[in-house]
């Protein structure tokens, strides 16, 4: 199992997908979306790992290991996608709060006004 970490990250994505598709509570849907985000971020970071590598920062880096750093690009991508995930979650949560204010429920089956 050379790439077990990728499988774990994907399992997290799949769990989130399940939550997003089959749960009925709006907050749980938000949690599902967050789970997928987390899984994808893990996946991206794992892509750049080098066995026994160190963080790609030269300040006080151990000289013996300085030529074996993990790949920096996936970390930069993950940083961006974390902020995007945060923004999405904040917006989804505020919609959920307002929906609860209007309908007094968080159950999607009772909220459904938009049909057809």
């Amino acid at each position: 199992m050379g790439n077990f970490p990728f499988v774990v990250a994907m399992l997290l994505v799949i769990l989130g997908l399940y939550t997003l598709l089959f749960k009925r509570n709006l907050i749980k849907l938000v949690i599902g979306a967050s789970l997928i985000e987390t899984g994808v971020n893990l996946f991206l970071v794992a892509l750049g790992y080098r066995t026994a590598g160190i963080a790609p920062i030269y300040t006080y880096a151990p000289p013996a290991l300085a030529d074996r750093m993990v790949l920096p690009t996936p970390q930069a991508l993950t940083l961006t996608s974390i902020v995007i995930g945060l923004a999405t979650t904040a917006l989804l949560l505020s919609f959920a709060v307002v929906i609860h204010r209007h309908y007094g429920t968080l159950d999607v089956r009772e909220v459904k006004e938009l049909k057809g």
Binding site: V13, I36, V40, P74, S81, A87, F95, K112, L114
Partner: protein, 518 residues
């Protein structure tokens, strides 16, 4: 070229961003100052869009490249490298075409918003969100980097959902915004997984570089599948169209028009992935039939469900979904016949692409007119309105133009692009042409009914007033496009559509060469 032309692609994105950051600060000075600033920035953005498009279309046809942070700015590869390391913009004929569509819709929507949002609160958030949405759409259309595309996709999604839920006192708008946001998040994360897979395989994020590296390996195909599903979802292709109806239906009218442009930008991303990123890697015919199947499903769902609607904006939303079907049909036919009968394939591509601008103009016009009707009558239920034509002559006439164009009646623009699609899809399979024509006829029937229900007959509502001048002028602008594109299709096909279709159909090598050289 002078400095402005050189930097125009990035200024096209940076100007609306600047506007978005500045408008909340100047909004303190009152709504007149704010509207003036918004107007100036919109015009500036539109003229930059024109400049970018003119530069590309007047050029030799090679894509123009802009590398961020590089010195000199067209240095795509540092010495000794075979991978582009910086983000770059790559503008070709197709991008230029999409930019022009977006700019057209942007000007009309902003002008309309000035009147539509006069009495509403929150203008200092509405206009910045609108500018962010526009900047993101322009960015999606220009970028040559897959991760950058993802970032703009997310900006577009978040800004769009903020605007869909902009009237929080309507519970339904919140519901639509939540649904749309959840779906946008899902599709954005699919794109992210796909680009993670491609990055893990090939170690790059640049579309041109990836295009030179992807093959028919299983992992690349999984990435392709994820990208197609994600971008199809965001474009509102059936069976993932449900969000589009809620979003178009519940958003403020000018936003519905801009959302059409946003969906088309996703569709552009889909075409870019299919033709440029995987253009050399995958079997063309099978993918073409897959697109055709999706397009027929989209047409079917859009048209049949439109027959049942009572809500005028939701009905138009179904019309908008069905039009996405036409674009996919044209491009799908182009895909399948590219090997066997390239002459027909190219006509089909032209039809599909030409239909994008026609769709943006006539659906945008219909949404704006529906917004005016809603504003005047206070209802969106077709059963409760009637006889509005007595008091709203101009709106009625403009709505009629949009409806006839949507249904593909000559001499309006919908006819000229649909004609190209009919004749070329007939070459692929007569059944397809029959389906396309039948859908048009049904659409005509639907919109005849709407027009009759809303505008004709005895006056049912008192105190109905004609839409304000700003709203009428912006509708008129789109109507002029509808009529002119319908009267002189040949000119526009030559000048705009053919370069776009060529860039997509035959331009993959040029696209890759512009970045990787050689």
């Amino acid at each position: 070229m002078n400095a402005l032309s050189v930097h125009a692609p990035v200024l096209l994105v940076a100007t609306p961003l600047l506007a978005a950051f500045v408008v909340p600060l100047v909004a303190k000075l009152g709504s007149t100052v704010r509207n003036a600033v918004v107007g100036v920035f919109t015009l500036l953005t539109a003229s930059l869009a024109g400049l970018v498009a003119a530069n590309v279309l007047a050029g030799s046809g090679a894509p123009s490249v802009y590398v961020f942070g590089a010195s000199p700015l067209n240095l795509t590869l540092p010495s000794g490298m075979h991978v582009p390391i910086r983000i770059l913009f790559e503008v070709d004929g197709m991008s230029a075409f999409m930019i022009l569509i977006t700019a057209l819709v942007a000007v009309a929507a902003t002008l309309y918003s000035f009147s539509y949002f006069k009495e509403h609160s929150g203008g200092e958030m509405y206009y910045p969100l609108l500018f962010l949405l526009l900047a993101a759409i322009f960015g999606m259309e220009e970028t040559g980097d897959l991760f950058n595309f993802f970032v703009f996709l997310e900006i577009a999604g978040i800004a769009a959902c903020g605007l869909i839920g902009f009237r929080p006192w309507r519970g339904r708008s919140q519901e639509a915004a939540f649904k749309t946001m959840a779906l946008y998040t899902l599709s954005g994360l699919f794109v992210l997984i796909a680009l993670g897979l491609l990055y893990g395989q090939h170690g790059g994020l640049n579309i041109a570089y990836l295009s030179s590296r992807v093959g028919a390996e299983m992992l690349d195909l999984v990435a392709l599948g994820l990208l197609v599903v994600a971008l199809g979802m965001k474009a509102g292709v059936a069976p993932m169209h449900m969000w589009a109806l809620d979003a178009y239906g519940e958003a403020p009218a000018p936003i519905s028009a801009v959302l059409v442009a946003s969906s088309q930008a996703s569709l552009y991303g889909l075409f870019r992935v299919l033709f440029t990123l995987f253009g050399a890697a995958v079997s063309v015919a099978a993918l073409g039939w897959f697109l055709i199947a999706l397009s027929v499903l989209t047409l079917f769902v859009g048209v049949t469900m439109a027959l049942l609607q009572k809500d005028i904006k939701r009905l138009i939303a179904y019309g908008a979904v069905s039009q996405i079907g036409y674009m996919l049909l044209g491009v799908g036919v182009g895909f399948t016949t590219s090997g066997s009968r390239p002459a027909y394939g190219f006509v089909a591509m032209q039809g599909g692409i030409f239909h994008m601008v026609n769709d943006a103009a006539c659906i945008g016009l219909l949404f704006l007119a529906a917004g005016a009707v809603h504003r005047a009558s206070g209802t969106r239920d077709l059963n409760r309105m009637g006889g509005l034509g007595h008091d709203m002559k101009w709106t009625a006439a403009l709505f009629a133009i949009g409806a006839l164009a949507l249904a593909g009646v000559p001499p309006f623009n919908g006819f000229s692009s649909k004609l190209l699609i009919y004749e070329s899809s007939f070459a692929a399979s007569p059944i397809l042409a029959a389906i396309a024509i039948l859908s048009s006829i049904l659409l005509l029937a639907v919109f005849m009914k709407v027009f009759q229900a809303a505008f004709l007959g005895p006056r049912l509502l008192e105190n109905v007033r004609e839409a304000s001048r700003g709203m009428l002028v912006s509708m008129l602008m789109l109507a002029v496009v509808v009529v002119v594109f319908g009267l002189f299709p040949g000119f526009f096909v030559d000048k705009l559509v053919t370069p776009a279709a060529k860039a997509l159909w035959l331009g993959r090598d040029a696209y890759v060469r512009a970045v990787l050289g050689g």
